[in-house]
Structure formats: structure tokens, C-alpha cells
């Protein structure tokens, strides 16, 4: 039986997609930020793979088609960026400065932790893309010779923390500008933060989704510089 499951072309994808769907409906019903459909899907998939003794390499080869869509979907991010260009133009300096300062502070935080805990270069560059969307972060981690399969869950944990902690951060720092809230959420917590931004309002949501793309691109430029430090 293990042979059958290991060689099945569709089993891995069926489990992953249904588990994602399950996670998504639980999230919609309970509205708990800690429940993330991606994390639920990953946990359920791993449970299935380990109980049925299917090696990751066979799962990986049959779900390659999903992974291979990462580049096209990132290319597609140009579409919302283009559609929101007017918003970006309006407060260009403020938005770009907010995003760049966020990216640099993200790099500094990772560098700091890496120096204190004596992380290796590989571990350090694996953590560098933590704040950007997985679509870009995984590619960046690969290019910097990090470990993409660790970068991916770190990005999800970052997004979930940003989503949960945003109200406290905004309250303590007295952030009331919708544009500032949106930029901060998109820059620090990518798509998972953006769902929080949309709870605040339309402007927050639009700013946040714009910031995901811009900060992703900027990080690709800035992170290699940080990568030289360790």
C-alpha cells in the first residue's frame, strides 16, 4: 500500500488541497487569527505522509505543479500594483520611506538575533526574507542559498504574529493614519497582515496589498546587502 501511495500522482495534492479548504472554512467560521489555512494544511499533510510512510521526495515530485506556479503568480502581482498606482503616487514619499525603513529594521533585527545566537550564514539568510510574501521570499531564500522549506513557515509565523499584534502596536504608538497602518501591515506581515488591514478599512487594505509587492521587490534588492554581513 505504501508503494501505491508513494507513487500516486494525485494523492499528495488531494490531501493538501482538501486540508487547505478545511482550514479555510474553520478560519471563516471561528475568525481566530491563530488558525491559518496554510498551517493546517501543512500539519495534516505531514500527518498523512508520516503515517503512510511516504517520503517527502515523492510528495514533492507529485506536487511540483503547484510549486511551479509560484513564479507565474509573482509575475501576476504586477497587476494589483499597476491598478493601485494612483494610490502610490499620491503619497509616494511617505509610503516608500515607510517601506524602506521597515525592510531595513527587519534586516537589522535578523542580523542582531543572528549575532547574539551565533547563527550560521545559511540560517541567517534563511531568516532574512521573513517579512515578505512567500512567493518572493522562497525564491529569495533559494537565491541567497538559504533553506526555503524553513523560510516558508517562518514567513507564515511572521504574518500570523503581525496580524495578531497589530492592534497593540498601533495603540501604543498612536498610529491613526489609515495609510500608515496599511503600509506597516503589508511591509511587516505580507498577505496575512493584509487581511487584518482590510478589517480596518478599504484604504488600509489597498495600502497593505500595495506594500506587499513593493516591499517584496525592495527586499530582493536590500537583503543581498545584509547577506554579506555574516
Amino acid at each position: 500500500m505504501t508503494d501505491f501511495f508513494s507513487n500516486s500522482v494525485y494523492f499528495g495534492a488531494v490531501i493538501s488541497l482538501f486540508a487547505y479548504f478545511l482550514g479555510d472554512s474553520i478560519k471563516r467560521k471561528t475568525k481566530i487569527a491563530l488558525i491559518n489555512p496554510l498551517l493546517i494544511s501543512v500539519v495534516i499533510t505531514i500527518l498523512f505522509l508520516t503515517t503512510l510512510k511516504i517520503p517527502y521526495s515523492s510528495y514533492q515530485s507529485v506536487t511540483r505543479f503547484l510549486h511551479n506556479l509560484l513564479t507565474p503568480v509573482t509575475v501576476c502581482l504586477a497587476v494589483p500594483l499597476y491598478e493601485k498606482l494612483q494610490l502610490l503616487r499620491k503619497d509616494f514619499v511617505a509610503i516608500i520611506s515607510g517601506i524602506i525603513s521597515g525592510i531595513i529594521s527587519s534586516g537589522v533585527c535578523v542580523l542582531f538575533v543572528a549575532l547574539i545566537f551565533h547563527l550560521s550564514h545559511t540560517e541567517y539568510v534563511t531568516l532574512l526574507p521573513k517579512s515578505i510574501t512567500t512567493a518572493i521570499g522562497v525564491g529569495l531564500s533559494e537565491k541567497l542559498s538559504g533553506i526555503p522549506s524553513i523560510t516558508a513557515p517562518v514567513i507564515v509565523i511572521t504574518g500570523v504574529s503581525g496580524n495578531i499584534l497589530a492592534p497593540f502596536v498601533f495603540k501604543i504608538l498612536k498610529i491613526k493614519e489609515p495609510v500608515a497602518r496599511g503600509v506597516a501591515l503589508g511591509t511587516s506581515a505580507h498577505a496575512i497582515g493584509t487581511s487584518k488591514a482590510f478589517e480596518y478599512g478599504e484604504i488600509e487594505g489597498a495600502m497593505s496589498s500595495l506594500s506587499i509587492v513593493v516591499s517584496g521587490i525592495m527586499t530582493v534588492i536590500i537583503a543581498p546587502v545584509f547577506a554579506c554581513f555574516i
Partner: protein, 119 residues
């Protein structure tokens, strides 16, 4: 056929991105070259929004499921993950507050300055 053409355009741009990433010796993923290219083509109106809109909306909507295969990879890099778990938690939880705080403050200060200048 509309979807097929849209999807073909997106794949073509991804392929050109791959080519650029192969020939340009910078640590920039193929997808970013493709993104830039698509953005420039849209801005210069060489490509109309209607040439890519539906297929790209669909792909962006289902984007999270594309992250599943690579994330399941923790199965194999589990030991590395657990060995740096405290670092990961600090970076993702505290680090995220710092990043969010800094970018929110900077954006807000510049916005306020711009508005007070106008008045």
C-alpha cells in the same frame, strides 16, 4: 480561449524572467524580473489589463496553496528548524513588532508633515 491566452502570456513572462535570472549574475529570483517586465508592459500600454486580468486574479486568489509543497518540506529540515526555534520565534514575533512600528511611525510622520505644509 481567453484564459489560455492570458495564461500563456503570464508563462511567457515567467520564462523571460527565468532567462534574465540565468544570465544576470544577481541574487534576484526569476519571478521579480517577470514582475517588473509585466509592470513595465502594463504601464507602457503594450499589454492591456484585459490581456492578463482574469487569469492573474485567479492565480493570486489561489496563491496560498502554492506555498504548501515547500512548507511541507519542514519534514526533512525538521532538525534545523527545532535547533533554531527560539531565534525564529524572537525574529518573527518581536521583530515583526519592530518592523511594523518603525514603518508605521515613519509613514505617519511624513504624511503629517506633508499635510501641515499644505495648510
Amino acid at each position: 480561449m481567453k484564459y489560455l491566452i492570458q495564461f500563456s502570456i503570464i508563462l511567457l513572462l515567467s520564462f523571460i524572467g527565468e532567462l534574465l535570472s540565468f544570465f544576470i549574475p544577481l541574487p534576484i529570483p526569476a519571478s521579480i524580473y517577470g514582475l517588473f517586465l509585466m509592470f513595465i508592459l502594463l504601464c507602457t500600454k503594450v499589454l492591456k489589463l484585459s490581456h492578463v486580468k482574469e487569469a492573474s486574479d485567479f492565480l493570486i486568489e489561489i496563491m496560498p496553496v502554492m506555498f504548501i509543497p515547500v512548507t511541507v518540506g519542514i519534514m526533512d529540515s525538521y532538525t534545523t528548524l527545532t535547533s533554531i526555534l527560539p531565534e525564529i520565534l524572537i525574529v518573527s514575533i518581536l521583530g515583526t513588532c519592530v518592523v511594523m512600528g518603525v514603518s508605521a511611525i515613519i509613514t505617519q510622520i511624513i504624511l503629517k508633515r506633508k499635510r501641515s505644509k499644505k495648510q
